[in-house]
Amino acid sequence: MTLNYVVALAALLFMIGAAGVLIRKNPLIMFMAAEMMWNAAALAFIAFARNYHDVTGQVMAFLIIATAAAEVGIGLAIMVAVYHRRHRLDIDEISELKG
């Protein structure tokens, strides 16, 4: 299997995730779509690592996975905190950023 098709798959997956962030209003689903975008980036890194026989790309993918874990922790904590105050799951609820 050639690099082109893997990178094309990564691009499609990334854009499905980006479209999900754009069209959904449930923050949980938006967050999962963003996770898919992280995964697509990692897939592209791994495809290039395989193509050029360089393990650095895999190191980058590993760092992406670790960073995504940190992001999920923070993001879900923010969602739970907002839900405690507003009791609704709607991204428009938190559109105003006031302290």
């Binding site: 299997m1 050639t2 082109n4 098709y5 893997v6 990178v7 094309a8 798959l9 691009a11 499609l12 990334f14 854009m15 499905i16 995730g17 980006a18 479209a19 999900g20 754009l22 069209i23 209003k25 949980l28 999962m32 779509a33 996770e35 995964n39 897939l43 791994i46 495809a47 690592a49 395989r50 193509n51 026989h53 393990v55 650095t56 895999q58 190191v59 993918a61 590993f62 760092l63 996975i65 670790a66 960073t67 995504a68 874990a69 940190a70 992001e71 999920v72 922790g73 923070i74 879900l76 904590a77 739970v80 905190a81 105050r85 009791h87 609704r88 799951l89 709607d90 428009d92 302290g99």
Partner: protein
């Protein structure tokens, strides 16, 4: 190549169902499918360690956290998404997003990269190869990610600590000291 095509189509279907699912729990299950399919593609790309890490970290840890939060926040609810404030922006977003994705994919297919003819060295992508790279040239990044995870843990503690949250929100405790009011009920203005 046939296997890759099959898994790729399954991945795209799972990805679309993450986005269009009616309930977040269906999204989470579809995202597990995306994760497992990606792990299989990692195996095909001789990234053995990453495939295992993907399954353990994503399917094992991140998705379980997601499912916890989904069940905590949306259990027994059948909320419909509120209407758009700007008519048609949802369809425009989907259309332009998919157009950009299609353009990128066509671009990737039409411009093949030079390929190294020799087979990969044995052990490429295994635990030893990735570990040597992580603890050697990429050690600064590894340490940075360790700091990042630590910061994330502190941030989560801060966010879910009621008194810290009160300080952040600028609310003042109106009840006398000694009377405890849980923050979810005590000062929810809405």
């Amino acid at each position: 190549m046939v296997g890759f095509a099959i898994i790729g189509v399954l991945l795209l279907i799972a990805g679309i169902s993450v986005v269009v699912a009616r309930q977040p729990v269906y999204s989470a299950l579809a995202l597990v499918g995306v994760t497992l399919g990606l792990a299989m593609i990692y195996l095909m790309l001789s990234a053995d360690f990453l495939a295992v890490a993907q399954v353990i970290v994503y399917a094992g840890a991140i998705m379980v956290l997601f499912l916890f939060v989904v069940t905590l926040l949306t259990a027994g609810k059948e909320d419909k998404e509120p209407a758009d404030t700007l008519a048609g922006q949802r369809w425009a977003g989907a259309l332009f997003g998919l157009l950009v994705g299609g353009a990128l994919a066509v671009d990737a297919v039409l411009h093949p990269a030079p390929k190294i003819a020799a087979p990969v060295v044995p052990g490429f992508g295994g635990l030893h190869a990735v570990g040597e790279a992580l603890w050697g040239p990429a050690f600064v990044m590894l340490a940075g990610v360790a700091l990042l995870l630590l910061t994330a843990v502190l941030g989560v503690l801060m966010l879910n600590h009621p008194e810290a949250a009160e300080k952040i929100a600028g609310h003042r405790r109106t009840t006398p000291p000694g009377v405890t009011v849980s923050p979810a009920e005590g000062e929810d203005g809405a």
